[in-house]
């Protein structure tokens, strides 16, 4: 093989590897529709689950459960995450306590989700006696989401030019006034997109839900935070692995389409939004 030919072969191999990511993404969506497309209908989305007659059953309760989980996780983890990010970027000097916090955040991000499940089981379900419930699941997934939200928050806060802060402080503003009126308005949209991405990832988790709260079947919707609840990922899991109906797998695929539709919709909107912001502010930041 001549040099230019092998050169081309290598570069093509590298390019193909990168394109494989796109291939995987498309293949996943394609296969889901191939297996679950026929089970997908308006009834499937808007009916309650029906154990005996799976062909009449719908996933409305699981959709509502997953959305309730999303709202709950957002409400718990975003305020704490944003406040932590503000502390780390705006207040903290490089002391041992800051190093400890950063070390904790990095390690939290690497803890397996099933271990978060064990933590939630021991603390929220057992010790705080919340039982396997929506609230226990919200708190468990919030702990898991927290490090992602802090990292996104820090990144967003760092895009605010230092000169803005110095200007405000020089004019006599206090640190809090500077944060409240100058830094936060500039970085809020970035922090929120990061937060929404984090929450959308959290609600796709199944393993912790097995331990702290989801159920496969219930009458109606949860009426309070201490009720059990249904969730799309857990529903997909049970249908795929533990349901006797011969068509269960296509209903699992249909449930997965609803779940991935929810997650990808959120991601798509945010990617588009980021793309537009980047185009607008290109050169201003860098």
């Amino acid at each position: 093989m001549s040099d230019t030919l092998s050169e081309k072969a290598y570069l093509t191999l590298v390019a193909l590897s990168a394109v494989s990511a796109l291939g995987i993404l498309l293949a996943v969506i394609l296969f889901l529709f191939a297996f679950g497309g026929s089970a997908l209908s308006a009834d499937f989305i808007f009916n309650n689950w029906n154990h005996q007659h799976i062909e009449q059953a719908g996933v409305l309760q699981a959709i509502v459960g997953t959305l309730a989980l999303a709202v709950g996780v957002f409400a718990v983890s975003v305020p704490i995450g944003v406040a932590s990010a503000i502390y780390l970027t705006e207040y903290a000097r490089s002391t041992w306590s800051v190093r400890l916090i950063r070390l904790a955040i990095r390690n939290l991000a690497g803890v397996p989700s099933i271990v978060y499940g064990l933590f939630g089981l021991a603390l929220f379900v057992q010790l705080l006696a919340l039982g396997t419930s929506l609230l226990a699941a919200i708190l468990t997934l919030s702990a898991m989401t927290l490090p992602w939200i802090i990292s996104a928050g820090e990144e967003s806060l760092k895009t605010v030019p230092l000169a803005y802060r110095q200007g405000a402080l020089a004019l006599g503003a206090t640190p809090w006034q500077t944060i409240r009126h100058i830094v936060l308005p500039q970085s809020l949209s970035g922090m929120m997109t990061g937060a929404i991405l984090g929450v959308s990832r959290a609600i796709g988790e199944t393993a912790p839900l097995i331990l702290v709260g989801a159920t496969f079947f219930m009458n109606g919707l949860p009426t309070g935070p201490l009720d059990k609840f249904m969730a799309l990922p857990y529903h997909t899991f049970i249908l795929a692995t533990q349901h006797a109906d011969p068509h269960a797998k296509s209903y699992a695929a249909a449930t997965a389409i609803v779940l991935i539709g929810l997650v990808l919709m959120v991601n798509g909107v945010i990617f588009y939004y980021r793309y537009k912001i980047r185009k607008k502010t290109l050169g201003e930041i860098r």
């Binding site: 590897s17 499940g117 064990l118």
Partner: protein, 291 residues
């Protein structure tokens, strides 16, 4: 009392410290429950080869079979994901035109946001029949199928970290190579790759940490047999899958329950060790390139 700047600062600091408390809490709850298990089980039994906690005759608490299951899946997954991820990072950082990048980079990131259960389902429906027919097996629920899907899951982690690592190579290196008459591939192969070795190592370790912790997708396709595995085509039950399978069946506070927490502690320590290692190596690497 008027809220002063000091109070505000303390409020933010308290939120920051909460992360430390959560990490300490995770470790603490795992440890407390795990210690309970070792009042009945000896360490020797815990690191035995057979896991059979519900035996009527003599319960056995050995996690080695499960640990080998984890290692088989993780090793095979990395064998696929590391080259693929490195090439993806190389392409995104050095070769792709801005327009191609604008499409491929989100695609890689989107893979990370596909829920684990969805990938597990696709593996169950598509990969496992494929593996079964390729190797003439009655079913494709084994370590290899699990490894294939775990490879997909850690690909984004390895690809984005190695993209950062390759982008951090100073431009002067590349320009120097090209000025000396090297081709684009020669520059990648002889300049960019060698100067990124420790970063590549860090990316691999981070991927390893992720792979060890994967639960649901693995549980769906690994076969979950308790027999000690001897190869990639054997059904395996990795540690994560075992916890998820058994935790709902055990009596709270029983030895079995506590042994599952001990297993969680093992997972926690393994993943933490690889994450810390990755972090340290990466920091040193980036600092050296920056200097």
């Amino acid at each position: 009392m008027k809220i002063s700047e000091k109070h505000i600062r303390i409020f933010f600091q308290a939120n920051g410290i909460l992360s430390v408390l959560v990490l300490a809490g995770i470790f603490g709850f795992l440890l407390i429950n795990a210690i309970g298990a070792f009042q009945t089980i000896t360490l020797g039994e815990f690191f035995g080869t057979t896991w059979n906690p519900t035996s009527y005759v003599q319960p056995q608490w050995g996690i080695l079979g499960l640990l080998v299951g984890t290692l088989l899946v993780v090793a095979a997954a990395l064998l696929i994901a590391v080259p693929l991820g490195l090439f993806t990072g190389l392409y995104l950082s050095n070769l792709a035109s801005p327009r191609v990048r604008e499409v491929l980079k989100p695609a890689v990131e989107l893979i990370a946001s596909i829920p684990s259960v969805v990938l597990g389902l696709v593996a169950l429906l598509v990969l496992s029949p494929l593996v079964a027919s390729l190797f003439g097996l009655t079913n494709g629920l084994n370590a290899l199928t699990a490894a294939l899907i775990v490879a997909v899951m850690v690909l984004p982690t390895i690809a984005s970290l190695s993209e950062d690592v390759f982008s951090a190579v100073p431009d002067a290196y590349r320009q120097g190579g090209l000025a000396l008459g090297a081709t684009r591939w020669q520059v990648l192969r002889r300049v960019i790759l060698p100067s990124s070795l420790s970063g590549i190592f860090a990316a691999t370790m981070l991927g390893l940490g992720r792979a060890v912790g994967e639960t649901i997708a693995v549980l769906m396709v690994a076969g979950n047999a308790l027999a000690f595995p001897h190869g990639l085509l054997d059904p395996v039950r990795p540690l994560t899958a075992n916890i998820a399978i058994e935790i709902k069946e055990v009596v709270t506070g029983s030895t079995h329950y506590q042994a599952l927490f001990a297993m969680g502690l093992v997972l926690f320590i393994i993943t933490m060790a690889f994450n810390v290692l990755a972090e340290l190596v990466l920091q040193r690497h980036m600092k050296r390139l920056g200097a």
